[in-house]
């Protein structure tokens, strides 16, 4: 992990005395007197689901768009694209984040797990299996984000992180339906399949315990 990071930083920062990452400007048709803003390109070395990639990206590219448009990992979904719905949730270095609100260039050297990396048909992650068992979806669009988020929630609880509904801040929180609901509030389900989502996560939490 740390070696990857060192390599990627060298690659990313090697391009010029100013240490800015912009390494190239694609051709443009804007006239010289009134140039349009030019896209800036940078290289990102990143590990996704165990596979290393080194990719040139427009600096504006979000981690979400890198995953979907460049790596064709379309399991991660774009819902609101503003960090409000949670459909884009992925796990970066063990932490769940909204991939839509994070720039790909800021993740050089990181280790990203998407829904495809959690499990695939025939070898489902226990959380994926629990969602299938409990029918924890209707249309399914929010499901990859729900599952990535739920996997991380159980790890957060295992680590003892408090939530808004944790009664005693000095004690390890207990896995209760109330705790799970509060911790999953960043994942919206437009179909309203919350009852089955909650049941699936509780079931998966029980399997772990």
């Amino acid at each position: 992990m740390h070696d990857d990071f060192a390599v990627s930083r060298r690659v990313v920062l090697a391009s010029g005395a100013a240490s800015a990452v912009a390494v190239g400007v694609p051709g443009s048709t804007a006239d010289a007197a009134n140039p349009a803003p030019q896209p800036m390109v940078a290289q990102v070395a990143i590990t996704v689901n165990g596979t290393k990639h080194s990719i040139d990206v427009d600096t504006r590219t979000t981690l979400l768009d890198l995953l979907r448009e460049r790596l064709q990992l379309t399991g991660t979904k774009k819902g609101c694209d503003h960090g409000q719905c949670g459909a884009c949730t992925v796990i970066v270095d063990g932490q769940r984040i909204n991939s839509c609100l994070s720039l790909a260039v800021m993740h050089a050297g990181n280790d990203v797990t998407t829904i495809e990396g959690l499990g695939m048909p025939g070898q489902l992650h226990p959380m994926q299996a629990a969602f299938v068992k409990h029918d924890g979806y209707q249309c399914g669009y929010c499901t990859p984000g729900q599952i990535c988020s739920a996997v991380a929630v159980l790890n957060e609880m295992k680590a003892g992180a408090p939530s808004h509904v944790t009664a005693d801040l000095t004690r390890k929180p207990r896995v209760t339906p109330e705790e799970l609901r509060e911790r999953m509030s960043g994942n919206i389900c437009r179909c309203g399949a919350y009852a089955n989502i909650a049941a699936a996560i509780a079931d998966a939490a029980g399997q772990r315990a």
């Binding site: 930083r9 990452v21 896209p39 260039v105 960043g186």
Partner: protein, 320 residues
Amino acid sequence: MKPFTYQRATSAPDAAAVAARTPGARFIAGGTNLLDLMKLEIEAPAHLIDLQDLRLDRIQRTDDGGLRIGATVTNSALAADPTVRRDYGVLARAIVAGASGQLRNKATTAGNLLQRTRCPYFYDTNMPCNKRLPGSGCAAIGGFSRQLGIIGTSDACIATYPGDMGQALRVLDAVVETVNALGDVRSIPIADFHRLWGDTPHIETNLQAGELITAVTLPKPIGGTHIYRKVRDRASYAFALVSVAAVIQPDGTGRLSVGGIAPKPWRVAAADDALPGGARAAAALLLAGSRPTEDNKFKVTLVERTLAGVLADAQAGKGS
């Protein structure tokens, strides 16, 4: 989003120096607020200075028994820190009352202080907004203002500072540490960090151009019962209509800061002094001179009632 160049800073003074000499430069840490605004082109930095390599992500004891919180410590890490949970419960409570688990994993201590208002007219680029486009007017005044400010506002802007964490930092008398392009460090008491809008609502803090927050320090623990009570339109993942951060001592004295009502965490010395006399007296002093709109005058009552709830909880020993 407008194109921008990007670099990772290698030291805090260097980051400040680059920011001071680069037109349109902005620091980026978690990015959860800045990127959101960049997508809407409300923010359009020409250059981003990423702070992730500066090792500002540590929480350390200070020599005088307090705590030094690095600028890029995430909200999640800060709320989970054992010392914070034990000695500064109001801070842990305020943090976990805000945003979502995903956002708290990215959002940072300094970034949270610098987050911009959620006034819907600030976000709607079709509307006038003195904060977004100075001199264009304020669509919120006379518009839908249920969520907006009731005190410390101006004829130019009635937006609020939206944060939860800042309310706790205000009752804890936190100090913001910064460094500038020359390498000079400065300590800004949290009370002096955010500005009232006045005629310049686009200037939200007293930071100077290029000045970088390196840490937030807390004085040594003050004991008492720590409570953060947040009233909002849904039970989780919503901004406050009104929130109260409070530390109440066994003798009934205490401190309070109220969120959701003003351009900055709203704490008034006279209201603190009046706490032993109950919520009504303290709320009246806290809100002296308030100028609510027809839409948000309910907040005047809500502040008093939320505070009454806080004081009842403190009396019953319900707190951290």
